[in-house]
Subunit: 323 residues, 2 copies
């Protein structure tokens, strides 16, 4: 809501007007206000203005009647639920579906893409990888007819922060605790430190950009739990720092992918990516090595990815309702 | 022509069919063949198939009747001519104008953009900076509503190759000669080594992406002629290699820009960009530091920039004629 407000002049220039007619969360339940919530009261967490008697996503969509839904539930690596159901229902109700949830890509990309097309709506997900930096849209909108043959990068911030901390002398447990306090890592840090987040991200890139039916559990995956501080420090001293590296490459008609700690040379751009920054290198038929690096992402970058998707979805339409 | 042929399946998928109805060069003059040149004979430099009696761009456009014109004349830093006239005439004749010539941007961007809009055509120029890697389209198509506050990068390949050579012990004159033999530098190398090419590129980025009326001669410009091999080598040994760095930043309502040799630290991504690779860092309100690096550009990257522009311009139309 803050970013929508901050960028309202730019949205207006593009002919986009908006109001928020629905809000839902685990804590609040399903709230709808077809005339639009008062934004400042939303920002103040004051939600008594909404109808609260709704029982689920379908009733909520019927009450809120959104043109676009922003879906930002937390990831279920196993099955991508309930996000997939929410997006399916949203598209079927005639709304554009914009998600920051990678689970929807790795479990249902092709289905949701087809459903969106059938309904004349868009299914977009720029915020799922690298916090909303333009990765999917780079290929979709700026590199037509380019064939992607390989991907290599650092896609998980938490482990990258932990490895940087360990290089500076902190031990693994202390650093995990610090990333939890920063709000980066979950209470159960295995999602990050065992490489699941990175595996889901590389799978999402492969599914969408390489158009290959890779599954998360086909990714060869090693996390950073096995690394000792001493080893991480001496690797850095020797000019071969550890990074949790994601890779994907074509292997005949298939794509193979893996996530594992690797020592990289100091002349490798990956060596310079520390803390919460991330990087991805693309090997294509036209550009042998095109690299996108996002350093020190701000607080708004994930929200921005969703805003950019929203603009892509609706531009040219005159008036909109956002759920 | 080679790239159009190579990507014909991808073009076909997008509903794009094409033939080449006009060719022009300093050596060949103005050739038109409204039924379309035989492509393989074009590739074999066999051009007797065309009408050769045409006197200039206007007659050529009338004879060839293109839907899109690819303009790739060489740069005139002083006034951007004759490219600007060719593009103006092309747009007025109802063709999309796609150029690899930066002079047109720094001398006439706003005029040509307005003219294109008035005629319902596109004026596109992705190949003018970083060999066709998506830079202009990144902002235009993937980062709506983002405000660009600063730019920093290495944009001239020739000087970057020369600096790499000098680090390896070659002297300035030997390396200039080598880049000329590689086809990178012109017979008169001042265009590159005195920083003109870099100055024109940073100006093009500022004009288009920062929407500021910067002129090339307002760029504070120092080339690499003043650097001695010994200094370049000792700078690299000390871990502070020289790079010809372009910078632009907002200064109130204006934008200031400069090109000059700078020593960069080894933890700076610019330090890793050697030889013919290039890099640009963007400082925006949303992404504090977003970086695009193009390593080891292939032979087709400049042509690809023009192809991508072509697809952007015409996608959705069914059949096309290319001049």
């Amino acid at each position: 809501v803050q970013l929508l407000q901050k960028k309202s002049a730019e949205l207006h220039e593009r002919g986009i007007a908006w109001r928020i007619t629905g809000v839902a969360s685990r804590r609040l339940g399903w709230l709808a206000q077809p005339e639009g919530f008062v934004q400042d009261r939303l920002l103040g967490q004051e939600l008594s203005q909404g109808r609260t008697s709704l029982s689920g996503v379908r009733e909520w969509l019927t009450a809120a009647r959104p043109d676009a839904v922003f879906e930002a539930t937390s990831l279920s690596v196993k099955d991508g639920q309930p996000a997939i159901d929410y997006i399916r229902e949203s598209l079927e109700a005639g709304a554009h579906a914009i998600t920051a949830n990678k689970g929807t890509i790795v479990h249902a990309y092709e289905e949701l893409e087809t459903l969106a097309e059938k309904n004349g709506r868009r299914f977009l997900f720029e915020s799922t990888v690298m916090d909303g930096a333009p990765i999917f849209s780079l290929f979709r909108q700026t590199m037509p007819a380019v064939r992607l043959n390989g991907i290599r990068g650092i896609l998980n911030s938490t482990t990258n922060v932990i490895l940087s901390d360990m290089e500076h002398g902190m031990n693994f447990e202390e650093s995990v605790k610090r990333t939890q306090e920063m709000g980066l890592a979950e209470t159960d840090p295995s999602h990050d430190v065992d490489g699941w987040d990175a595996a889901v991200k590389i799978t999402a890139l492969v599914r969408v950009l390489m158009k290959a039916p890779l599954k998360v559990d086909e990714v060869e995956r090693t996390g950073i739990r096995g690394l000792r501080s001493e080893d991480v420090q001496s690797a850095r001293r020797d000019g071969k720092p550890y990074k949790l590296v994601c890779r994907a490459e074509r292997d005949g008609s298939r794509v193979k992918a893996r996530v594992r700690p690797e020592q990289v040379s100091l002349s490798d751009p990956l060596a310079l990516v520390t803390g919460s920054s991330s990087i991805v290198q693309f090997e294509t038929d036209i550009f042998p090595n095109l690299v996108i690096t996002e350093n020190d992402p701000g607080l708004e970058t994930t929200a921005y990815g969703m805003l950019a998707d929203f603009i892509t979805a609706v531009v040219g339409r005159s008036s909109l309702v956002v759920g």
